[in-house]
């Protein structure tokens, strides 16, 4: 009878046993080691590459940062791919163990003086969180790499095609052409888009997943739009601030320990350095200004009226009077009789307002030092100036604190002889100011000279701005994160709804990774369309803000309208981040679908 058990031929079973097994490996120490090396390497590597490129090769900071970050991203992604290939599954636990070690290593590197500079992207206030956040980001990237590799069959047979998976995904999402038109219209005008979508949803009421899909797309779009607009406004503020600071201050200064008398030779050297556009000497001291009964503290800056326009915007910021009056004070219009004999002084608009002075009024400059020695010690020294002009830079601090006089007058007043406080420089690329000023220092053969660029001079302000922007981006990225949970729940619903279909596909021989592809493609479609819509909406909103400015109270913000800077690279980064988050959201449902046993959907027949 056929039911009797025939003795097995041992030959065939041993042959099967000898064939290399492609089963997943339970826990692979080699993969764990490699994953750890990749994550720690990415963590330290990005910093090391940035420092090396910027300091050893003298590359621009923006370029070296970008290359360093790309190296880190590449190492993390590559590590994920390797781990997935070695373990023939995603290798989550190996990577997670690697992540924990990377966090420890990151804090170790930060604690060590010589390697702490690897983390100079991390704002000061986030020293503890820095390595943790960086390692977490790299871990997520490694997971992205590992799941992508797993999905594309690394470790088994590489299978990049997505032909039928895309068709099935499209049929699940019911992404019909009218739906895409509706979304397109939504971008152009809210009302017609909503009408089209509402009509569409009415017609296709049979599928709750369609409504879920549209809502998920909307969630991603809103998140992306919010992040784009807020970052554009913050960039606008930053650029406005930078413009005002750099309009009043030079891009970099050359200073000298001791008395700076040989400044003319130093200025020649600086002028001859590539990238330096202009050089101008200055003298800076704190003084008091009095006019009638009004009194205020101020910074008195002696400038060379001939060359100051090469390094700052001062000549173009004069709103009353003229710059030329500094060199030739006799032309200052004086109410009344004789031509003016007093030297000229330029004051900021706020300062003029505080002292209630106008062009042509006399001002007393008082310095606590520099006077003769009296019976009670050093006596203050004072000198009369006449207001030659009023400037308006837009920065309250500058307009209320700065006063300018001609260089020789300042030198005489402070008894400095021929020496100056320093040289101001203007460079052709403000983001490259640090490197150019270092070059100038090199040509001056270093000590006793020293240089400072605008970033150093305003470090607190700009690092606060940067931190604010990073924190804002992180907070707003949570909106996208929430939207990605929408994607996750939509996909879970789809997987549950399509259980039978998954079983049938598997009975036809669809591999796990092919089923995974179907659902990853669905999630990426939702995320991708949402991101595209969000970016378009963000772009339109930003353009609208720049065309129809939103007024602000200039007394409070010192800026007349909401600034906005459309930075396409920033938009691109937001889009990329949204897509990566959407991809991460697909991993759980897609793996769940892929690992369903084929019989699961067939059982309750």
């Amino acid at each position: 009878m056929q039911r009797s058990i025939a003795p097995r031929e041992p030959a065939s079973s041993t042959a099967a046993a000898e064939a290399p097994s492609r089963r997943p490996i339970a826990f692979s120490p080699i993969a764990w080691l490699l994953g750890t090396v990749a994550l720690v390497g990415a963590l330290a590597g990005q910093g090391a590459v940035r420092l090396f490129l910027a300091h050893q090769l003298g590359m621009r900071a923006a370029t070296s940062d970008a290359i360093g970050i790309l190296v880190g991203v590449g190492l993390a992604l590559g590590g994920g791919v390797l781990v997935a290939g070695l373990t023939r599954r995603i290798g989550f636990w190996e990577l997670f163990a690697g992540f924990l070690l990377a966090v420890a290593a990151g804090h170790g590197l930060l604690a060590a003086e010589s390697t702490a500079a690897f983390f100079d992207l991390v704002p000061e206030g986030a020293r503890f969180l820095g390595p943790l956040a960086l390692a977490a980001a790299l871990f997520l990237l490694a997971i992205v790499g590992a799941t992508l590799a797993h999905m594309l069959g690394v470790g088994h047979e590489i299978d990049l095609a997505v032909g039928w998976e895309a068709r099935v995904a499209k049929s699940h999402l019911r992404l019909s052409r009218p739906l895409l038109w509706g979304l397109g219209l939504l971008v152009l005008g809210i009302v017609p888009g909503v009408v089209v979508l509402a009509l569409l949803l009415r017609r296709q009421r049979r599928s709750p997943t369609l409504i879920m899909t549209v809502l998920s797309i909307g969630g991603v779009a809103v998140g992306v739009m919010a992040l784009c607009v807020v970052l554009a406004v913050m960039s606008g503020f930053e650029i406005d601030l930078k413009r005002k600071i750099l309009g009043t201050n030079a891009h970099a200064v050359v200073l000298k320990y001791g008395i700076f008398e040989d400044w003319e030779q130093a200025a020649e050297v600086a002028r001859g350095t590539p990238g330096v556009l202009g050089v101008s000497p200055f003298v800076l001291q704190e003084v008091m200004l009095t006019a009638d009964n009004n009194l205020t503290g101020a910074l008195l800056k002696g400038i060379d009226p001939e060359t100051v326009g090469d390094v700052t915007e001062l000549p173009r910021e004069i709103v009353e009077g003229s710059m030329e009056y500094l060199a030739d004070p006799s032309r200052i219009p004086v109410r009344g009789e004789e031509p003016n004999r007093l030297p000229g002084i330029l004051v900021g608009r706020e300062l003029a307002r505080q002292l209630r002075i106008f062009v042509g009024d006399p001002v007393m400059v008082v310095s606590p030092l520099g006077g003769d020695l009296g019976p009670m010690g050093p006596q203050p020294k004072s000198m009369q100036f006449r207001v030659a002009g009023v400037f308006y830079s837009g920065m309250y601090e500058y307009d209320s604190k700065f006063a300018y006089v001609a260089l020789d007058r300042a030198q005489a007043f402070f008894k400095m002889g021929g020496s100056v406080s320093g040289l101001e420089m203007k460079v052709d690329d403000i983001d490259d100011a640090r490197r150019i000023s270092r070059n100038v220092l090199g040509r001056l053969e270093g000590y006793p000279f020293r240089v400072k660029d605008w970033g150093e001079m305003n470090r607190n302000l700009f690092s606060a701005l940067k931190l604010e922007k990073v924190v804002m981006a992180v907070i707003l990225a949570f909106i996208i994160l929430v939207a990605c949970f929408n994607i996750l729940s939509t996909l879970v619903m789809l997987v549950l709804e399509k259980g039978k279909e998954i079983s049938i596909l598997k009975s036809m021989g669809a591999r796990d990774n092919q089923v995974m592809k179907v659902f990853v493609l669905e999630g990426l479609a939702i995320g991708g369309i949402g991101t595209a819509v969000g970016l378009a909406l963000g772009l339109i909103l930003c353009t609208a803000i720049s065309i129809f400015p939103i007024p602000l109270d200039p007394e409070v913000y010192y800026i007349s309208h909401l600034p906005v800077k459309i930075d396409l690279a920033q938009f691109g980064l937001v889009g990329l981040a949204a897509i990566v988050l959407a991809y991460l959201a697909t991993i759980f449902p897609a793996l769940y679908a892929a690992r369903l046993r084929p019989v699961e959907g067939l059982r309750n027949e």
Binding site: M1, Q2, R3, S4, I5, R8, E9, S12, S13, A16, A17, A19, S21, R22, R23, P24, H156, E157, D159, A161, G163, W164, R167, V168, S171, K500, E501, S503, I504, L505, K506, S507, M508, G509, A510, R511, D512, Q514, R597, P598, V599, L602, E605
Partner: protein
């Protein structure tokens, strides 16, 4: 069956057992040691009351589920040594399934549905279209290629499912009550088609049914009771 002696069976089940755990009832033994041999070119009816374990046996033979114990061998090679990827390829190349419901993809045309297993295999689209069209032609749907499942009758839908199962030219056809949802006349036509295809293509087929009269047309019948194959003739 002396003529099978010395020849390796195409598909063989040895002492196949399958248990389920249900929270209320505890362990349920669905299959209690099934031994079965299918030889190349055979067409076999599997009879039995509902709950006898026919579908479970079919799922196990088609590697849609793993047995609790026992072994399935294809051409003498045990399937338990294969990993998920190899099992998927095995299902794609060697086995064709037909179920009681047609399970066609509703948004796809008949042609696209029949093409699916070929596309899963990464066959080039044009060739897959030709093969699937030829198979639909063979099951009598040459004029229904561009129709969606919703536009086809129940018999036609089951024919598309049959064409889909056979488009890959599998060695074994496993059919789980393919006529169960059809009226007797249409069901008869489907069954005749399976018998015809067996003669024509030499495909080995195991057809689950609980219809005694229809099963009479099969050259070999097996009967299942209480999780065991109790009689064969």
């Amino acid at each position: 069956m002396s003529e099978t002696n010395g020849r390796l069976p195409l598909l063989e089940a040895v002492d196949l057992r399958k248990d389920y755990w249900l929270p209320e009832k505890g362990r349920i033994e669905v299959l209690r040691g099934v031994d079965l041999r299918l030889h190349e070119g055979e067409v076999v009816a599997l009879l039995g009351k509902s709950g006898a374990g026919k579908s479970t046996l079919l799922h196990l033979l088609g590697t849609l589920d793993a047995p609790t114990s026992g072994e399935i061998r294809f051409e003498g090679e045990p399937l338990s040594t294969k990993d998920e990827v190899e099992l998927a390829d095995f299902r794609n190349r060697t086995i064709g399934f037909v179920f009681q419901s047609h399970y066609l993809l509703p948004d796809f045309t008949a042609l696209e549905n029949a093409m699916m297993p070929l596309l899963v295999r990464r066959m080039e689209r044009r060739r897959a279209e030709q093969e699937a069209a030829a198979m639909l032609e063979r099951v009598g749907l040459g004029d229904r290629l561009e129709h969606r499942p919703g536009e086809l009758s129940g018999g036609e839908q089951q024919r598309v499912a049959l064409a889909r199962a056979l488009a890959t030219r599998p060695r074994i056809l496993l059919a789980d009550e393919p006529t169960g949802n059809l009226d007797p006349k249409t069901g008869r036509a489907i069954q005749d088609l399976i018998l015809e295809l067996n003669r024509e293509m030499g495909i080995t087929a195991l057809v689950v049914t609980h219809n005694e009269t229809m099963a009479r047309d099969f050259p070999r019948r097996l009967r299942m009771e209480e999780g065991r194959v109790v009689a064969g003739d």
